[in-house]
Amino acid sequence: MTDTPKDLRYTDSHEWLRARPDGSVEIGITDHAQHALGDLVFVEVPDAGRKVTAGEACAVVESVKAASDVYSPLAGTVLESNTGLAATPEQINKDPYGAGWIMRIKPDDPGQLARFMDAQAYAALVASAAE
């Protein structure tokens, strides 16, 4: 069983979103996603200052057996990226919701998080995909 924290929101492409006190949104990939990918060997993160649209591929995670894009769930500007992942991609495997965060985005329209899945809905999605 994979971990799905209650205080986060989720996308059907397996990103998680965390609202931060300054109005920005932290984004990473879920525990389920890192399990499915296996041991990560390379992560490419977007440059700070980059404008992204909702659904735009802006990071890449690569494991020994697959590579996958990470999509920005929201339109906005990249405030900061976890550049440390270049040297330690395994942080995503070890701590997908903490040290394995990928990017922080300042959304163009604040307060949109509620339209994404909550933990219960995401867990149901993962469970139904597994059947």
Binding site: F42, A66, A67
Partner: protein
């Protein structure tokens, strides 16, 4: 590894299993407009006997002229052992096999090849090869755009001293991917990339600069200055090099303060015989930091569960079977058989053997230039060169080359079409395979032709 084609019965069975009635139905999602239609230029099929006869006649029509033509493909002595080993059954397959790790010998050969190319070019990593030098240039331009994320222009500067066919190939492949490949003029006196042509681009967003060494005229470009200029502009450097020349010249990894970023070239001089257009092979090497943007296969060395050394395809997430449309390339291949020949060629020659070949080429070309000068040809550019030189003649190259051909001499490459501003300019080459007698024969023939009445 045998190639066994499907029989009509195999095809029918497979279609039945997936519930499709015909091949036509299998491909019906491809719109009519994207299909190539009828292949009108393809003649009807011939029998094995007929095709054998046709090819023998065509080969005989080529003859075996005394060759002074280079211009991208070069006649070198190939030790008999090279192809005796390469054509053994264990090697005689052109692809990295499916289930690659079952073929440790093939993978080790490619690994050794990669190590040799990385060492020869002074770079950290090499791929398992590409189609040829020209398409390797195109792949290098595309790779530079991916690797240089801060540059938004997708603009790669290509000097006119880069081989014209390579430029045309790069343009054909890159133009539909929204790359811009502006050309840089060369200095008419020196035949080298012009400093003022560079100056026009100073301060603008440039993704990369291509530097061919030796350039198409056989001349040695000031690679240190060009590399440092490009890096000062924030651009990457793509080095296009002749592998034989690297036995004498500084490897691209040591050009300027920081070295080139991507190195490509035509591998044919390393043990591949001349043939009409190929098959040859391209090589590509780069810095470790750019390895994930490099196209093509890469073989790595690893250890198995018991700690024993083994070889494996690595970094495959760059490739189309995993990354699909976002792969580093969907048009490249590796030329495994020719790479095998190159690996054996380099192993047999060793560094000192390759240096002897390169020195002999340079010496023979100097001898040729001197002899043809006495025959009435003018050396167009006086600078340092490797094994080719531009000569200007007192009448059109076309007529001179035809007259030479009549005497069994292939006299060189006519530059008139690509460089009309040079006049009757002929590119000549002498490798280690040319003797003093060969050069004398060319000299005498040319002297007679150039002293005759002008047409």
């Amino acid at each position: 590894m045998a190639f066994i084609p499907h029989t009509a019965d195999d095809v029918r069975q497979m279609l039945t299993v997936i519930g499709v009635s015909s091949m036509e139905q299998l491909f019906d999602e491809i719109p009519e407009s994207l299909r190539c239609g009828v292949l009108t230029g393809i003649p009807p099929a011939l029998s094995e006997q007929e095709i054998g006869r046709l090819m023998s006649e065509r080969a005989a029509a080529d003859g075996q002229p005394l060759n002074f033509l280079g211009a991208g493909a070069y006649e070198h002595h190939i030790p008999a052992a090279v192809w005796a080993i390469t054509t053994r059954g264990e090697y005689y397959s052109c692809y990295t096999p499916y289930q690659a790790e079952a073929s440790q010998g093939t993978l080790q050969t490619i690994y050794e090849y990669q190590s040799m190319m990385a060492s020869l070019t002074g770079m950290a990593v090499a791929n398992a090869s590409l189609y040829d030098g020209a398409s390797a240039l195109a792949e290098a331009c595309l790779m530079a755009v991916r690797a240089h994320r801060r540059s938004k222009s997708a603009c790669v500067l290509v000097p006119r001293t880069v081989h014209p066919l390579w430029r045309r190939c790069a343009r054909a492949i890159c133009s539909n991917q929204e790359l811009k490949l502006p050309e840089l003029a060369y200095d008419r006196a020196s035949g080298l990339t012009a400093v003022n042509a560079l100056a026009a681009h100073a301060g603008s967003d440039i993704t990369a600069l291509v530097i061919q060494q030796p350039n198409v005229f056989g001349l040695l470009e000031p690679v240190d200055e060009l590399t440092d200029w490009a890096h000062a502009q924030g651009a990457l450097v793509i080095a296009a090099v002749n592998p034989t020349s690297l036995a004498l010249l500084k490897p691209p990894g040591e050009w300027g303060q920081k070295g080139a970023d991507i190195v490509i070239g035509e591998g044919q001089p390393l043990g591949v015989p001349l043939a009409g257009g190929g098959p040859y092979f391209g090589f590509m090497t780069t810095r470790l930091e750019h390895v994930r943007q490099m196209p093509g296969r890469i073989v790595g060395r690893t250890v198995d569960l018991d700690g024993k050394a083994g070889f494996t395809l690595t970094l495959q997430a760059r490739e189309q079977h995993i990354r699909r449309a976002k792969a580093t390339s969907n048009i490249c291949t590796n030329q495994g058989l020719l790479v095998t020949a190159a690996t054996i060629y380099l192993s047999i020659l060793g560094p000192s053997g390759l240096e002897q070949v390169a020195s002999a080429c340079q010496g023979r070309t100097s001898e040729l230039v001197e002899r043809l000068g006495r025959a009435g040809a003018q050396l167009r550019f006086p600078g340092a060169r490797f094994h080719e030189a531009v000569l200007t003649l007192n009448r059109p190259c076309e007529t001179v080359l035809a007259a030479l051909a009549g005497q069994g001499i292939c006299g060189g490459y006519d530059l008139t079409e690509d460089y009309p501003e040079l006049g009757h300019a002929l590119l000549v080459c002498a490798t280690e395979t040319r003797t003093s007698e060969d050069i004398e024969r060319y000299g005498q023939a040319l002297a007679r032709i150039l002293s005759g009445d002008r047409p």
